[in-house]
C-alpha cells in the first residue's frame, strides 16, 4: 500500500464542557491539562450547543473532580453535558428502613446510617476508584462529622454518594427517619 492513513489518536470522553466565550474554553483546557486530565478541544454538537463554538471534551466520569478544580482555579463554564442521552443527572433517591438503620440509595450508591446515633454504618455500590477510599473515610463516623464525598471524591460515583449523604443528613436532622 502506497498511502497508509495515519491512525488518529483516540480520545472518547463521553462528556463536554460548554462555555460562553472561546477564551474561557482555552483557559479550561490549559487548567485541565496542567492537572493531567485527558481532554480535547472540540466543536460542540449542534444539538448541545450553548454559548460559543468551542467546547472541551472530558471523561464524563471525572465531572465532579473537574468542577471542583474549576472552582479553585476560577474557571468559568456554562455546564457539563453527556454527549449522548438526556443529559440529566439522577436526582431521585430511594430510602429503605432496616430495624435501627436507614439506607439511602442515589443512583448506583447506597449509604446506611444508624438512626439512633447518626453513625455511618456502611457504604455500598458504585465502581469508581475513589469509592473504596471514601468507604475508608466515612465508615464509623457521625454524619455530622464525616467528610463530604463531594469534597474528597473525584468521580460520578462519588457525586452519587454525596447525594445519598445529603439525604442521610436531612433524614438524621429530622430525627433519623
Amino acid at each position: 500500500m502506497i498511502f497508509q492513513r495515519k491512525k488518529k489518536l483516540s480520545f472518547e470522553g463521553g462528556g463536554i464542557l460548554l462555555f460562553e466565550k472561546v477564551e474561557e474554553a482555552i483557559k479550561a483546557e490549559k487548567v485541565l491539562k496542567g492537572e493531567n486530565y485527558a481532554v480535547k478541544l472540540v466543536a460542540p454538537p449542534p444539538t448541545l450547543r450553548k454559548g460559543c463554538d468551542l467546547a472541551v471534551e472530558i471523561n464524563l466520569v471525572e465531572q465532579m473532580g473537574i468542577e471542583r478544580l474549576f472552582k479553585q482555579k476560577d474557571v468559568v463554564y456554562l455546564e457539563v453535558v453527556p454527549l449522548k442521552g438526556g443529559g440529566e443527572l439522577l436526582e431521585i433517591v430511594k430510602v429503605t428502613d432496616f430495624k435501627e438503620a436507614t439506607m439511602v440509595k442515589a443512583g448506583n450508591m447506597k449509604l446506611t446510617f444508624d438512626r439512633n446515633t447518626g453513625i455511618i454504618l456502611n457504604a455500598s455500590g458504585g465502581g469508581c476508584p475513589d469509592i473504596p477510599y471514601l468507604h475508608t473515610q466515612l465508615i464509623d463516623k457521625k454524619l455530622t462529622e464525616a467528610p463530604r464525598p463531594k469534597e474528597i471524591g473525584f468521580t460520578l460515583c462519588a457525586l452519587m454518594m454525596d447525594r445519598a449523604f445529603e439525604e442521610c443528613l436531612l433524614l438524621w436532622g429530622k430525627g433519623g427517619n
Partner: protein, 302 residues
C-alpha cells in the same frame, strides 16, 4: 492462572503484581498488607477463600493505588495492554478502575490478539466502561446490581449517574425486561448475574435460574458484598465449572455467608468473607457435585 486487576485505596501503592494470601484480616501481597475492605480487596478475598478451599492456585493480582484521580488506573491499563499476551491468564477479572474508554478498547484488542483468550469478567467500573465503549459483548460475565442492569439497558448512558430516570424508577420485578433490553442493545456480556432481592442468572438473554434464598436484605447495605459475588464467580469459573453454574453457586454462597454471619446493616464485608469456608464445607458438595478436592483443578464430581 486467574488474574485480578484493580485499584486499591492506598494512594502511594505502585503497580504491584503477585500471588495473594490471607494474613489475618488482611491480604498479603509480596510484603504489602492490604485491608480487606470494600472494592477490589473484597473481590480478591472472596476469590482467595474459594481457591484455598478448592486447593487451587491462589489468584494472581495486579494492583495499584488510586484514590480516584486516575493515575494508578492508567498505569494498570497500560501494563495490561502491553503484557496480557505474555501473562495469558485463564481467567481475567477487571474491577475498580477509572473508566477510560480508549484504554479499555486497546486492552480488549490486546486480549483478542492473545494466543488463548481468557474468560473475561468485569464488575464495577470496568463493567461501566466496557458497556460505554460498546465492548460489552467481548466479555463473558458481568455482575450488575439492580441499578447497573438499568444502566446496561440504557442505550445512551455512559455511567449509572446518567441513566434515564424512568429506568432507575423501575420496580425490581421488571428486571427481566431490563435484562432483555440490555441484550437487545448488545450492552451486556454473554452471561449476567444480576444481584438483588432476586438474583438472576442469564445466558445469552435467557434467564436460566433465579436465586431468592436465604433472603438477607441487609446484604445490600454492606459495602463489598457485590464484590464478593464477583470474586466467587471468578474462582468457580477458574475451577472449570460451567459459567452459569459458577454464577448460581456464587449467588447462593454469598447469601448463605450473610446468614451465617447474622448480617446487620453494620456488618463489615470481612465478616461475610470469613464465613465462606464454613459455607463451602456445608453446601458446596450439594450445590456443585464437587465433593472432595484435589489440588490444581482435578476435582471429582459425584
Amino acid at each position: 492462572m486467574m488474574l485480578i486487576a484493580g485499584t486499591v485505596p492506598i494512594k502511594d501503592l505502585p503497580l504491584t503484581m503477585g500471588e495473594v494470601r490471607f494474613e489475618g484480616e488482611f491480604l498479603g501481597l509480596n510484603d504489602i498488607k492490604i485491608p480487606c475492605t470494600q472494592g477490589t480487596a473484597a473481590l480478591i478475598s472472596a476469590a482467595l477463600a474459594a481457591t484455598d478451599y478448592l486447593k487451587l492456585d491462589s489468584p494472581h493480582v495486579l494492583l495499584v493505588g488510586d484514590n480516584g484521580e486516575g493515575k494508578g488506573s492508567r498505569l494498570l491499563y497500560e501494563y495490561l495492554i502491553k503484557n496480557i499476551h505474555d501473562l495469558l491468564p485463564d481467567v481475567l477479572v477487571l474491577h475498580y478502575c477509572l473508566p477510560i474508554m480508549d484504554l479499555m478498547r486497546k486492552l480488549v484488542e490486546s486480549v483478542e490478539r492473545c494466543s488463548k483468550k481468557p474468560i473475561m469478567i468485569a464488575d464495577a467500573s470496568s463493567m461501566y466502561v466496557a458497556k460505554a465503549a460498546g465492548l460489552a459483548t467481548k466479555f463473558d460475565i458481568f455482575t450488575p446490581d439492580a441499578t447497573e442492569i438499568a444502566f446496561l439497558a440504557d442505550p445512551d448512558a455512559t455511567h449509572p449517574a446518567y441513566i434515564n430516570k424512568h429506568l432507575f424508577d423501575t420496580d425490581v420485578t421488571r428486571t427481566p425486561e431490563l435484562v432483555n433490553a440490555a441484550y437487545q442493545l448488545k450492552g451486556t456480556a454473554k452471561l449476567l448475574l444480576v444481584k438483588g432481592k432476586i438474583d438472576y442468572v442469564v445466558r445469552d438473554g435467557e434467564i436460566i435460574d433465579t436465586i431468592t434464598e436465604p433472603d438477607i436484605p441487609e446484604l445490600e447495605a454492606i459495602g463489598g458484598t457485590g464484590d464478593t459475588i464477583a470474586g466467587l464467580v471468578a474462582a468457580f469459573a477458574y475451577a472449570e465449572l460451567e459459567l452459569h453454574e459458577a454464577a448460581i453457586i456464587a449467588a447462593r454462597a454469598n447469601r448463605m455467608a450473610g446468614k451465617f454471619a447474622q448480617a446487620t446493616p453494620g456488618t463489615k464485608v470481612w465478616q461475610i468473607i470469613s464465613q465462606f469456608p464454613a459455607v463451602f464445607k456445608e453446601y458446596l458438595c450439594e450445590w456443585s457435585g464437587v465433593c472432595y478436592v484435589e489440588g490444581n483443578r482435578s476435582m471429582s464430581i459425584t
